[in-house]
């Protein structure tokens, strides 16, 4: 941090709630308590305004128009790429590829990198905590190229067994792909350590940061992974936009994945030469408005101090854990020492679906089910959990409402 930036006055995190119009609406006749931010966060007025302004004053297709409107749109679009670059501490905007979301980013790497570099007989290491989006793309390419999937197990707290991981590493491994933060259990994984260990064997590492970017400062150079992906809609930005960050040496060496406008330099029917990074990977008209609004989301987050956001969320996590544990029959899943503001639980004698239905009636939005982590649920031997996930805009009162509602629901159901 420079001398200057220490002078910046950050807005208090507690204020943020007022910036999100949806949080003052009602659900089933009750003031909405939104505790499903791990599925998708809500959007601040700044992001909504960015979309409105873009379509009302700035819209035009990018990169090829000479007229002012198109120049403005292109400028805003590329500015947003620079914001993303700074946000995750990348060295160059050439490393920032706009995609639809984390899922598309992982597919891009699996298919482009995988087709070029994966060799039959090799192994891909995932973890027991992974979201389907960080499993299925690897299964597909593994099947195509003849590799095996290996899984880092977890301990009873839901932490990765790093000792086992260490033993799994070998020359056969061709990719390690793990999430930064588990969406189902909240576990914050030691991604820097994982990368360092994998790199000892020269194994490339992809980190699925879908759950991380709204909760902690991400520095891709510090983590030193080879790829990092995340989704705009999980960090106060719009749906349909996300980011693949990759080290330039890899992105340069990888073949393009989708073909079309934007990603070419010259086209003849005989031969096509590809554009430079990052455009090589951005075929077709991109989600221009979405990218610009993602930049607005980054500006929004920048008004706050990330360590204060983290502290606020940790306080919510602790309070939520305390309040729920006062309720009879509550059992928690995921009690990692390093944990994000995600509380997965079950109430003895109740089905998560039933609990979700009753909470909904009381105006409380939580997620129930397998959270797109079926292998993890199978491993835990449960059909799913009830998951309350908090973001910066949640207040302690939300937890009070949740605890009260769970208590009532339990009485109704048991």
């Amino acid at each position: 941090m420079t001398a200057e930036s220490t002078l910046v006055k950050h807005r208090p995190v507690i204020e943020s709630r007022n910036d999100f119009p949806i949080l003052s609406t009602r659900m089933n006749g009750r003031d909405l308590v939104f505790l499903d931010s791990a599925a998708s966060t809500q959007k601040p007025q700044m992001v909504i305004d960015s979309l409105r302004k873009y379509y009302s004053e700035q819209n035009a297709n990018v990169h090829r128009g000479v007229y002012a409107l198109s120049q403005t749109a292109t400028h805003l679009f590329e500015q947003s790429r620079l914001k993303v670059k700074d946000f995750i501490g990348a060295t160059s905007e050439r490393e920032i590829v706009f995609v639809r979301g984390a899922t598309e980013g992982i597919n891009l790497v699996a298919q482009s990198f995988g087709r070029k570099y994966f060799k039959p007989g090799g192994e891909i290491i995932l973890s027991q905590l992974e979201h389907h989006s960080n499993i299925v793309p690897w299964q597909m390419i593994a099947e195509e190229k003849g590799l095996a999937i290996k899984v880092i197990p977890i301990n009873e707290k839901g932490e990765l067994r790093m000792d086992v991981f260490e033993k799994m590493l070998s020359e056969k491994v061709q990719m390690v792909a793990v999430n930064h933060i588990s969406n189902a259990l909240g576990t914050i994984n030691p991604v820097k350590k994982i990368t360092e260990m994998a790199h000892r064997y020269h194994i490339p590492v992809l980190i699925d940061g879908a759950q991380a970017t709204s909760h902690c400062a991400v520095d891709v150079q510090d983590i030193d992974a080879d790829f990092y992906v995340f989704s705009g809609h999980k960090m106060f930005g719009p749906t349909g936009i996300g980011v693949l960050w990759g080290k330039e040496k890899w992105l340069d060496a990888m073949p393009p994945w989708q073909g079309g406008g934007e990603m070419i330099q010259t086209v003849t029917f005989e031969k096509t030469t590809y554009n430079e990074l990052p455009f090589k990977f951005e075929a077709g008209t991109p989600n221009i408005a979405g990218s610009i609004a993602l930049g607005a989301a980054i500006d929004y987050i920048g008004q706050f101090d990330m360590t204060e956001i983290h502290a606020h969320e940790q306080a919510l996590l602790e309070y939520c854990t305390d309040k729920l544990s006062e309720i009879k029959g509550v059992k928690f899943y995921g009690t990692a020492a390093q944990k994000a503001s995600v509380v997965s639980f079950l109430v003895e004698g109740t089905h998560p679906y039933d609990l979700g239905v009753i909470l909904d009636k009381m105006g409380i939005a939580v997620r129930t089910g397998h959270h797109c982590t079926q292998p993890l649920m199978d491993y835990l031997g449960i059909p799913g959990t009830v998951r309350a996930s908090m973001a910066m805009y949640n207040h302690m009162e939300d937890i009070d409402r949740l605890a009260e509602a769970v208590t009532k629901a339990r009485l109704m159901l048991c």
């Binding site: 109740t350 089905h351 679906y353 039933d354 239905v357 397998h370 159901l413």
Partner: protein, 142 residues
């Protein structure tokens, strides 16, 4: 045996007594708890209707021209609604089941539970029940 029509009207009347959603859900939960369970031996994949949120097992038996349903779910609210559906449809004539319009669900304010987006297995279950009604009028057991 009362008609599908009559049974629906009966249920709508029952529900008109409730003042709020709590009473209504308490009633459904009670129903869910009291549902005569399907025999454990039928709780297999063969009888399973997949729902992402809750699982449903359904079994049909045909006697003369009538279809008798047994069903279960792992979630009690789903089960309660199953109980209502069985009350209306089980033992009815196959032909009536196939063509039935289950408007009572809407009228008692439970439409959301039969939305295909709920993925609790109920939409598929109703589809399956009607399918039995239409398709299996001439078979003995299903």
């Amino acid at each position: 045996m009362k008609s599908i029509e009559d049974k629906q009207r009966e249920i709508i009347e029952d529900f008109s007594l409730f003042d709020d959603w709590m009473q209504k859900y308490e009633y459904i939960i009670d129903l869910g708890k009291s549902l005569p369970l399907i025999e454990e031996e039928y709780k297999t994949d063969e009888y399973l209707i997949k729902g992402c949120q809750s699982r449903v097992w359904l079994r049909a038996e045909i006697k003369d021209d009538r279809v008798y349903f047994k069903a279960d779910s792992d979630a009690v609210i789903t089960r309660g609604i199953i109980a209502l559906l069985i009350r209306v449809l089980s033992g009815q004539k196959a032909v009536d089941i196939g063509g039935s319009d289950l408007y009572f669900i809407d009228r008692i304010g439970l439409k959301e539970h039969l939305s295909p987006t709920r993925s609790n297995g109920l939409t598929s279950m109703v589809k399956q029940m009607k399918y039995y009604g239409i398709g299996l009028q001439n078979k003995e057991t299903v």
